[in-house]
């Protein structure tokens, strides 16, 4: 068995964000091969993420963000498993970052699963009328409309949106950032609900 160097453990941790102990055991399992160790962590990560996703989230935080002009505000509830994580600075920073994103990106639902049937049906009608007006042949309309609907579903769903601060977050979606926060804290993290009020909008 290859000797596991502390520098490799550190490098693996930096590349994956996994815990030191997990990095060390992944390197052991991969016989010191960095790329293999990453694969080991990835598979284990998915397994533990799946395990985490089932765990109940009774703790958490409510974060708010008010835009400087005071005409726009966001409230978001982010849940985790323990009071310990709920008070963790990284977790609170994550919650703040999500609130800021919601203010800027104006999602309508947390996830695409929550889109009500009527809302989707209304959107479908608009796309169908547009396709007809554009003179698209009937046999391709259905496909065009389905494509537009799929795009729309992603646009209105918070978890599918790319964080507005793409520089800071490397073009990751909110779901990817949520999964990272879950991996970093070792807890199931759920964006439970949000409200976004702009003055005079409703």
């Amino acid at each position: 068995m290859a000797e596991i160097k502390a520098a490799d453990v550190k490098a693996l941790r930096e590349r994956t964000g996994a815990a030191m102990m997990d990095c060390k055991s992944a390197l052991s399992e991969a016989d010191g091969d960095m790329e293999k160790a990453i694969e080991v962590l990835r598979v284990k990560g998915q397994a533990s993420a799946a395990k985490r996703a089932g765990r109940s989230t009774g703790e958490g935080t409510v974060a708010s963000y008010i835009h400087a002009n005071g005409r726009l505000g966001v409230l978001v509830e982010i849940q985790c498993e323990t009071d310990f994580v709920a008070r963790n600075d990284d977790f609170l920073a994550f919650a703040q970052d999500i609130a800021l994103h919601i203010a800027a990106a104006n999602p309508q639902y947390v996830s695409a699963d929550e889109i009500p049937e009527e809302a989707e049906a209304a959107e479908r009608t608009v796309f169908e009328q547009k396709a007809a007006e554009d003179g698209k042949p009937e046999n391709v309309r259905e496909k065009i409309v389905e494509g537009q609907l799929a795009k729309w579903r992603k646009e209105v769903a918070l978890l599918d949106q790319v964080h507005v601060n793409a520089d800071k977050h490397d073009g990751k979606t909110i779901e990817e950032l949520r999964a990272e926060a879950a991996a970093n804290t070792g807890e199931n993290i759920v964006i439970a609900r949000f409200a976004r009020f702009a003055v005079g909008e409703e």
Copy 2:
């Protein structure tokens, strides 16, 4: 015509919160009689409040309040007529005070008019069953249930609630405080909507 003393104008202003000029002209109209002047102001106030209530509110502010433990948050949109009032300190303090009240008092609707029929029907059923279980005679049950429903409607409606800080606000309801803010600013003020999230509550 009685001479109008500056001290009386000041006293009237302190008792009613009306503008100096209005206090002076009310005292003139009441021939210097303080109680009559209050009545004059009250009638005029109602007239101008009615006029104000019809005016459109396209400006305003979104205020938030997060309870110290971070497990409870409120977002509230308060509308007014002009950007000038929207940036006014008293207006912003009013918005903050309403957000704090919502956190503590947990209203379900802005006004009783917004209570959905199904919610009221469900509540009625509960009260009716309770009245039957308590063995109340059938002929008085309806009256008991109506009384309980009227009480419930007031409890869940923000505007009908007495502000939780009764010391500061002298036991006034949120609607009374709203009307005061409207009178003080001279603009129509509307509590448009609110959200209140407590971790794990939903």
